[in-house]
Amino acid sequence: MLNKYVLIVYLVIFLLSNVISAGELKKVENFTLKDYTGKAHSLADYKESKAIVVMFIATRCPVSNAYNSRMVNLYNDYHEKNVTFIGINSNKQEDTKEIAQHSKDNKFAFPVLKDEQNVIADKFDAQVTPEIFVLNSNLEILYHGRIDDSQREKEVKSSDLRNALNEILADKSVDTKETKAFGCTIKRVSK
């Protein structure tokens, strides 16, 4: 009889723990990196934002570059709605001078930070460019993945990042939290 109760208690604990873990969001650590002008940015600086969009991007990756104008449009459409956009360049062969020129050429109004030694890419486990992480003020990941589902802008069927931001701004939970797409490998230093 006792065994039966013990079994039920174990079962309830097991089920509850599953429910709790299913609702838990993965959290990222705060970090500080400099943009190409030398100005330091911390995630903690943007805690008042409704969402922080961290974008691992590149200057030479054709897939990342296919999204330059879409990133500008996203910034234009959402930055006044208290959404912060931060670009991060973790590629070892792309220096701050190149990042500055690339940002200027593509009229990026958001900062692009240089991640020397790909420390932050490692912490985020970012693999590809472009790769997006949308965080809340607690630095929990609300969305992780692609900007949309096609390198060819005219063939986009699912604007995943836009959908996630709209849901966050409407205080809804993000329906599709994880997506994937082809992109360029982040060129890491040997460690």
Binding site: R60, Q127, V128, K180, A181, F182, G183, C184, T185, K187
Partner: protein, 180 residues
């Protein structure tokens, strides 16, 4: 004057023969590429399943690449060398391009021709590229190039993220051969 014309004619003849010889050489280079490797088809989930399930006791390397991917282009000659090196062994090497199916004629085949390809290549056509990515490995985020290595039973043993060398590929194959 007559002697001058004889020399001029002889000189032009030599020159034209040389040019023909060079053209023949180029023509020969392209002809050397086995035509079956330039018949690039698309591959869907059913096709990939068939590839993975019918191993016939052979190790399989699937290299996922794209013409727009610079490290993929740099890595390709090592794959060609690898195929030559393992042609008498129970090892299959297959390429799957992440280019669009409508780019087969314009981008994929010209690239393969220039590389003097010696193995079968497909262009992925899963409908949703995410399904293709997850089919190969749920932990893979779609970064190119990536090479998936399967043992002779069709079980994935490892995936190699980013550009690899001939040595990296060979060592991986050899370690799988030892484990069999």
């Amino acid at each position: 004057m007559r002697i001058f014309f004889i020399f001029l004619t002889a000189f032009l003849l030599v020159l034209s023969c040389g040019a023909d010889g060079k053209n023949d050489q180029n023509h020969q280079d392209i002809e050397d590429v086995d035509k079956k490797y330039l018949l690039v088809k698309t591959i869907d989930e059913k096709g990939l399943d068939s590839l993975l399930n019918n191993r016939h006791g052979k190790i399989l390397l699937i290299n996922v690449w794209a013409t727009w991917c610079i490290p993929c282009r740099e890595e390709f000659p090592d794959l060609v060398r690898l195929v030559d090196n393992y042609k008498n062994e129970k090892v299959d090497i297959i390429g799957i391009s992440a280019d669009y199916p409508d780019e087969i004629e314009t981008k994929v085949i010209p690239f393969l021709k220039a590389q003097r390809v010696n193995f079968i290549n497909f262009v992925q056509n899963f409908g949703k590229q995410e399904d293709f990515i997850n089919k190969l490995n749920k932990d893979w985020r779609g970064a190119l190039p990536t090479t998936f290595v399967y043992d002779a039973n069709g079980k994935q043993q490892i995936y190699l993220l980013g550009k690899q060398s001939f040595k990296d590929f060979s060592q991986t194959i050899e370690s799988i051969k030892k484990s069999l």
